[in-house]
Symmetry: C2
Subunit: 215 residues, 2 copies
């Protein structure tokens, strides 16, 4: 398809597509004349992914490029590639911070949690995983503010997260090629975070209404 | 206690506490001399809440003040007060946007989901609830990018969210006064969002490792 059709089918303006091409977020099309190029379904898919990262995930262009580099690295085995791609996505509103002495008590809680939840991969990776560092930081804040957050307390959350993850990976496996799976994993990570957070708040309101409402 | 002890016990500098007092995020202490005031446990608790909102939730001072106003409004019944306080907390990285014609298909999906999940309070409130608007926007992005997101697909997430919410409200009920419950609800909403998101990503990695890892 031509640029104009790519724009129509993706809902992304031709100016924005050209910008993504210049920024190497989108691979060039196949040149047909000196001024025209042909694009295919893989461009359309990539364009959707770029939109998810930039518009919903609010990633800067440079970070988006890094995530895409991991997505495209087919020298890795499938699990490593999935991991690398998802790890390259920063957590909303927070770069995963470094661990210091100050974070040690929080780290012990997280390590106990991983043991209780029997997350062997998580235990192997430890602070290499930005989500681990993010979790340690969140637990540290809870400790500092003296809110409940021991490992027993966090375990139900870990179990619920496993429930979500199993559903999500089932869905991924139903998709086409490994490359498409990695692309979808990255997009779904970003696109489902607001879904999860808004549903949690709505479920709280629901439960609060059931228990406390006077009407 | 004096300002210096409040600072020591909370880990917040006296300069920052004075700033919060000036900004009316913290109620004034009881004046004992012209230049000294006494603070009590309620100041300590409020200070922890303000830190959670500003430092972890990254709320601006004006928004924090609004959240606290809802927390302190004891003219409301308990459920309404909980709701008002939590609704005043913006969703991370995103103000809940207005609904337009464009969001209509997404709204239908969300309404079907609320019916399937039997969330009667959510159905009553509809777009009055910022989390509802946030969810509609997230679904609209998924639709636009052609990722799976019909109501059946979202239902497992809603069920998991209910599991989390029941645990959380159980915990709230174990706390002291209604005012303390509202304060804790607001703090936990903010402090547990990064916990939930990091655990989801870790659980994904775990499940991916189980299924795809070559070692």
């Amino acid at each position: 398809m031509r640029l104009s059709e790519l724009s129509e089918r993706s809902g992304v303006s031709t100016a924005t597509i050209k910008y993504y091409l210049r920024e190497r977020l989108l691979p060039p099309g196949r040149a047909v004349t000196a001024t025209q190029a042909e694009y295919d379904e893989s461009h359309l898919r990539r364009l959707r992914l770029v939109r998810a990262l930039i518009q919903v995930g609010r990633l800067p262009v440079a970070t988006t490029r890094e995530v895409l580099r991991a997505v495209d690295d087919d020298s890795l085995d499938h699990h490593t590639r999935l991991g690398a791609a998802v790890w390259a996505i920063p957590h909303i509103a927070n770069a995963a911070p470094a661990l210091t002495e100050e974070t040690e008590p929080a780290r012990q809680i997280v390590d106990t949690l991983l043991e209780l939840a029997d997350w062997t991969f998580g235990r192997q990776m430890g602070p290499l995983n930005p989500s681990y560092r993010m979790l340690v930081t969140a637990v540290m804040e809870l400790l500092k503010l003296e809110y409940p957050c021991d490992a027993d307390h966090l375990l139900p959350y870990a179990k619920l997260a496993t429930g979500v993850a199993v559903t999500e990976i089932d869905e991924l496996e139903a998709l086409g090629t490994p490359s498409q799976q990695v692309e979808a994993a990255v997009a779904m990570t970003v696109l489902y975070e607001p879904v999860l957070l808004s549903l949690r708040r709505m479920a709280q309101a629901e439960e609060s209404s059931r228990r406390f409402s006077e009407t």
